[in-house]
């Protein structure tokens, strides 16, 4: 097969890979723009994450605070904790969350995942035409995927930060109300930060998991299919 002037300048595979590009800065810019344009909708999606992360952070940090009080060896601290509703077996050195707490947290995260998947599925579906158009203009599957993952990561970050703050502050306030200043005085800072980090990480992961499948499906579509899908 004779390759004439249209494709004969075509270099080897590596060359083509480099010839179709979307610089990271540009993808970041496009993602931010898409987020800004659909600001209200994104707020709702992010709220789902905020609530889930806040709840997780609240539960984790509450038990961190209780552990702090327990390890302070303050007179009467065991009594105080038991009164506040923590299960304390004899000789325990840390306050774990009860089985019931864990179940509630897991359930809340499950519900949140479903909510996020739903929201991201909607957001990808309503943009099929945009995706198809981009692919007609020469976008690779990976560009489409990257744009959606970036958006989800930014949503996840916002949700995780807000949720972590909200949950952490909530737990601290609740601790202060229940145990007075002792809660703040004996706060194990490292553990609280670790819990915050964990909650934020879970939030990010949820957001990315939610968007991954729909974005992958969208990215792999033939351009015509994508443009027909919406009509």
């Amino acid at each position: 097969m004779a390759k004439t002037d249209i494709l004969d300048k075509k270099p080897g595979d590596a060359g083509i890979r480099k010839q179709i590009v979307l610089p990271f800065r540009k993808s970041l810019q496009i993602s931010l723009q898409s987020l800004r344009v659909r600001f209200f909708r994104n707020c709702v999606t992010v709220m789902t994450l905020v609530l889930a992360v806040a709840f997780l952070a609240f539960v984790l940090i509450s038990s961190d605070l209780a552990t702090g009080i327990l390890n302070s060896n303050m007179p009467g601290c065991r009594m105080m904790l038991s009164k506040a509703g923590f299960d304390l077996p004899e000789g325990a050195t840390s306050v774990g969350s009860s089985a019931k707490d864990r179940w509630i947290v897991i359930l809340s995260l499950l519900v949140c995942t479903v909510g996020i998947v739903n929201a991201q599925l909607m957001s990808v579906t309503e943009r099929f035409r945009e995706i198809g158009t981009m692919k007609c203009l020469g976008a690779l599957d990976s560009f489409v995927l990257r744009l959606f993952l970036l958006e989800a990561a930014m949503q996840g970050l916002a949700g995780a930060i807000l949720g972590g703050l909200l949950g952490g502050l909530g737990a601290l306030l609740a601790g202060l109300l229940r145990f007075g200043l002792a809660a703040a005085m004996h706060m194990p800072l490292a553990q609280v930060l670790a819990s915050l980090g964990l909650a934020a990480l879970v939030g990010m992961a949820l957001s990315l998991i939610g968007v991954f499948y729909p974005a992958l499906v969208a990215a792999r579509m033939q351009p015509v299919e994508a443009m027909r899908a919406e009509e």
Partner: protein, 248 residues
């Protein structure tokens, strides 16, 4: 000369869609050659398969059987990168529904293919402004698609299709969503581009205004090429064609 070589060759292409349990044959074996620099109109009634043929030529859809060659390269053999490269550099698309990206301004829409093609931001902006000027949209760079009329949106789309100076422009019913005079303006714009830049223009249409500017008209009926007419023969026949259609 550039006008002598074959830029698009379609051979024995069929396409079957599955609609639930039914199989619908949209194309039943099409052979076609298009020379570089030609202005081609693909005409035919709705459901005749012209859009399907059109999508095959543009590499947007794959034929069930048969082959499509763009400049003698079988596009079925291209991998994802090469196909993206082809769409990016060699083919410019114009759609009936404009398909601008709603969240971007006119200028960003025009520069997007250049960004994909690896052009630096400054060069892309400069070329984008130049192209918008070419289609008569000077000073509207920062308008979003919703702030532009249908005709203006289609002009942006024309500018976008020219972004990487493609060899072929594929226009799928470019005037379908426009009123008569706006449609005529877009057709005139395409004609000028074809004449001045030597771009091969292939349109799928059922707009008779398009006939006057086409070098050749390809009539598709029921998934097959019914006849191919040159412009010279056409003027005499236009009236007849209309009557035929009316009777059918």
């Amino acid at each position: 000369m550039a006008s002598s070589h074959t830029i698009v060759r379609v051979s024995g292409v069929t396409k079957t869609f599955r609609m639930g349990r039914h199989e619908v044959q949209a194309l039943r074996g099409v052979d076609l050659e298009i020379k570089a620099g030609e202005y081609i109109s693909i005409m035919g009634p709705s459901g005749s398969g012209k859009s399907t043929l059109f999508n095959m030529i543009g590499g947007l859809d794959k034929p069930t059987e048969g082959k499509v060659f763009i400049d003698e390269v079988d596009i079925a053999q291209l991998d994802a990168y090469e196909l993206a490269w082809l769409r990016n550099r060699k083919i410019g698309y114009i759609f009936q529904t404009f398909n601008l990206i709603q969240v971007m301004t006119a200028l960003e829409n025009v520069t997007l293919p250049m960004t994909f093609g690896g052009m630096s931001q400054d060069d892309a902006v400069e070329k984008g402004i130049e192209l918008l000027k070419l289609v008569g949209l000077e000073g509207r760079h920062n308008h979003k698609p919703q702030e532009l009329s249908g005709g203006q949106q289609q002009r942006v789309a024309v500018a976008r299709s020219l972004a990487n100076s493609p060899a072929i422009i594929l226009a799928d019913e470019p005037t379908g969503n426009l009123d008569l005079s706006t449609g005529a303006e877009i057709i005139e714009l395409l004609r000028v581009l074809s004449a001045e830049r030597g771009v091969t223009i292939i349109t799928a249409t059922h707009d008779y205004k398009m006939l006057n500017v086409s070098d050749r008209v390809i009539w598709i009926v029921d998934g097959r090429i019914d006849r191919i007419e040159n412009r010279a023969d056409l003027d005499i026949q236009v009236g007849e064609i209309k009557r035929e259609e009316a009777r059918a």
